[in-house]
């Protein structure tokens, strides 16, 4: 973090809190705030002040139908998450692949220059009934844990269950690889593609196609623009 970058971002925090920065400047500011406690504290305080502006807005009721639409999606995703937490979902159908991954042979495979470490990715359409025909699920096993990428009409969500904790000072980052191209952060701002939870849901802020592959790596806090670690999750393409 350079002094000039700090100064530029610090002077932009008012615009940042008001949502008035163009996308590129907003990304720069968000990345800086993620690593600068001074700017983070100031941005949070200015954000609180900006939020008070809402107090002058007349109260309006959203329609009951909106609540129904939101809760229908939430409840279906909660069902998926509960399924991920059941012992039955952890039955070791991927054990042979995991064993292979842990074996010296697999390490030779990595050492031989394999670009990505694919950990037991399987494919299926295993959503509960009622999820809609446009929904598909990609599933991967990660150590003792599991990961799913659920895509509905291009909107994607990574569901993880019992991932190993990232090392101190590191976070998980989600990447999208289109075709044979390079893996890119799943969000324009890498920090928005990071997460630390071990079980739960992570919104993938990218419109996925059938040619896309989703990966997860451990990265320094704040995220990276290019993967610096070996992927621990790689979904297959269908």
């Amino acid at each position: 973090m350079s002094e000039s970058e700090h100064r530029v971002v610090f002077e932009s925090l008012g615009a940042f809190a008001l949502g008035a920065l163009p996308d590129d400047e907003r990304e720069l500011a968000a990345a800086h705030i993620a690593i600068c406690p001074v700017c983070a504290e100031d941005a949070a305080a200015l954000q609180r002040a900006a939020t008070r502006l809402i107090d002058v807005v007349p109260s309006r009721e959203p329609s009951p139908e909106l609540r129904d639409r939101i809760m229908t999606v939430v409840e279906s995703e909660a069902t998926l998450l509960r399924a991920a937490s059941t012992p039955r979902a952890r039955i070791g159908r991927e054990r042979p692949r995991l064993a292979a991954w842990r074996s010296p042979g697999s390490m030779r495979w990595v050492a031989a220059g394999a670009a990505l470490l694919v950990i037991g990715a399987i494919l299926g359409a295993v959503l509960p009934s009622g999820s809609g025909p446009a929904t598909r699920t990609l599933e991967a096993q990660v150590g003792r844990g599991q990961a799913w990428v659920v895509t509905t009409s291009g909107e994607a969500q990574l569901v993880v269950n019992d991932l190993p904790a990232p090392a101190r000072g590191r976070v998980y980052e989600v990447w999208v690889q289109h075709g044979t191209g390079p893996a890119r952060p799943a969000a324009r701002n890498p920090v928005d593609a990071t997460f630390v939870l071990r079980s739960g849901r992570v919104d993938i802020p990218a419109h996925l196609t059938r040619d896309d592959r989703v990966m997860v790596t451990a990265e320094p806090a704040g995220g990276s623009r290019q993967p610096t670690g070996v992927p621990i999750v790689v979904t297959a393409r269908d």
Partner: protein, 178 residues
Amino acid sequence: MELVRGGDSAAFEVVYERHRVVAYSLAHRMCGRRSAAEDVLQEAFLSAWRRASSYDPARGSVRTWLLGIVHHRAVDALRRSGGAGRRQVDVPVEDIEVDAGVHVDADVIERERAGQVREALSDLPAEQSKVIELAYFGGFTHTEIADMLGVPVGTIKGRMRLGLGKLRTRFEPLGVTP
């Protein structure tokens, strides 16, 4: 929020019920149309549900976090729609009238809070309150506002920083959580 992080849909429903009115009010104020506001609210609440792990209590209340998401989504919607969706900014905050279908909350505390904000805004120099309203409720970038008002971008950023800083100084001693 701990329950929401764990995937408890019933806990999320409580969060929705608690914040839906203020969240929708903001979205409607910015988008100006019910359908657009409801689209924004749906996107925002689903994003909050899926990214519950990103909520950090040290940074502020759930309300502030949620409204930040709603605001961000509404700004994106306004920018996607271009100028057509930005008519609401023509109405100054202090001149907003309650129209048919608006839920009027008689709660004294809410009225008091609104009064505090109106007073603080009116105490700002007009050029500062103007850029704050254009940015926050209109979804305009500092560049667009600079073009609109015919002043340099740096000046607009300075007015935003200064004006919002004054509001912060004014609100913080009140000890009211946004």
